[in-house]
């Protein structure tokens, strides 16, 4: 079990140092009074620190695990089991239920459902597919990386000729009928 000991407050640190000192000496916590406490080390309680006063301990080393006796830091822990009724009240509270969405409409182009602020998924997939094919054509024309021409591109479908406006532009041929949604300029 991993025990995390965070840096305690100064008073708590003093208490911990006192407790550690008592443990090192093997004394019970009640014994105090005639001894002035010059005890030692201003070391925090975090590790099994070797106190310079105890020589016989130094030989055997600290065999005990760091968290067993020293960590007096109390952690927050549930005291009782939460019953299923209490759990249900929390899990089924209206704030935790899924809200019904009221922003769903019908796409006027394809008739599928779409959210009001988002593009229609079907139409977007359609356009994406066509763009992929056009990009494949461009790739075939260019033949490699860094060959993109510094002019505009015009996409022409079956039976279309480049007009006088498309003089200096790069022409990409697609062997297909022009899709209805791809308007020609």
């Amino acid at each position: 079990v991993l025990v995390l000991v965070r840096s305690p407050l100064p008073r708590l640190r003093a208490l911990l140092q006192r407790c550690w000192g008592w443990l090192e000496r093997g004394l019970s916590p009640g014994v105090f009074g005639d001894q002035s406490p010059p005890w030692g080390p201003a070391v925090a309680v975090q590790g099994p620190a070797l106190v310079p006063g105890r020589i016989n301990d130094a030989s055997e080393g600290s065999t005990e695990a760091p968290g067993l006796l020293g960590s007096v830091v109390w952690m927050a822990v549930p005291k009782h089991r939460r019953t299923i009724e209490v759990n249900r009240c929390r899990r089924r509270h209206p704030s935790k239920l899924i809200e019904i969405k009221r922003n769903i409409d019908v796409c006027p182009e394809c008739g599928n459902l779409k959210q009001k602020h988002v593009l229609c998924g079907y139409c977007y997939a359609k356009v994406k597919e066509e763009t992929r094919l056009i990009r494949m054509e461009i790739h075939k024309k260019e033949g490699g990386p860094f060959n993109a021409p510094t002019v505009e591109t015009v996409v022409l479908y079956e039976g279309e000729k480049p007009t006088e406006k498309d003089e200096g532009k790069q022409v990409i041929e697609r062997a297909k009928k022009r899709p209805s949604w791809f308007v020609q300029n």
Binding site: L2, R92, K96, K101, L113
Partner: protein
């Protein structure tokens, strides 16, 4: 000399009539008997059997019994608790509204439930004599716990935890017809009326 050495094939042939694998039924450890144990299809669930009930023909005066379609999917790789929220969402909706809500939900179970609803709709039109596929509403939608499996999850410093891989079932009952109107919320007036009625129902006990 003639009997020695008996070949392996000969020895096998001696006892070939015994064939111990035929003594046991394929699914169980008990010897073959006429008792049906859970074999081949591994137990058809109760929900699947609900589609098999056949009502006697209706009399001419009776109101038409709406068609009921039961469908389910077993061992979906999703948590029971998380699936419950989706099941609660679509309870009582019409099938179109439910499909719309599930399509735009970000949860993993939404995709599964949508498939189940579409399958059920298809079944309704083909086999259960439903005229319009939109004329269905979801009467019941529930989840059940599937079989859990425990696995080790490795942490740092040699620590480990045991994680459970949870699965769930999803059950849905479609009924023909428009969805029933939602219940009006209980007002204070209703509660007061019920309280007064309870007071009026009190009688004297153990008296003449």
């Amino acid at each position: 000399h003639s009997l020695f050495p008996p070949g392996a094939a000969w020895a096998r042939g001696l006892l070939s009539w015994a064939r111990p694998e035929r003594w046991l039924a394929p699914g169980s450890l008990f010897p073959l008997s006429c008792i049906h144990t859970s074999t081949a299809l591994q137990k058809i669930g109760k929900w699947e059997k609900k589609n098999r009930i056949v009502y006697p023909p209706q009399l001419p005066g009776e109101p038409r019994r709406p068609a009921e379609i039961y469908h389910c999917r077993r061992e979906i790789k999703y948590s029971n608790d998380k699936m419950w929220y989706l099941a609660k969402l679509i309870k009582g909706m019409s099938i179109d509204q439910a499909l719309a809500q599930l399509e735009f939900s970000d949860k993993k179970g939404a995709k599964v439930i949508k498939e189940v609803l579409l399958e059920a709709q298809e079944m309704a039109v083909r086999k259960h004599n439903v005229e319009f596929k939109s004329n269905l509403h979801i009467a019941e939608s529930m989840t059940g716990r599937g079989r859990y499996v425990k696995r080790i999850r490795y942490h740092g410093k040699g620590m480990f935890g045991i994680m459970k891989i949870s699965r769930c079932h999803y059950f849905v009952k479609l009924v023909e017809g428009p969805p029933p109107p939602p219940e009006p919320p209980r007002t204070g007036f209703d509660q007061a009326k019920e309280y007064v009625q309870q007071l009026r129902n009190r009688t004297l006990v153990h008296t003449l």
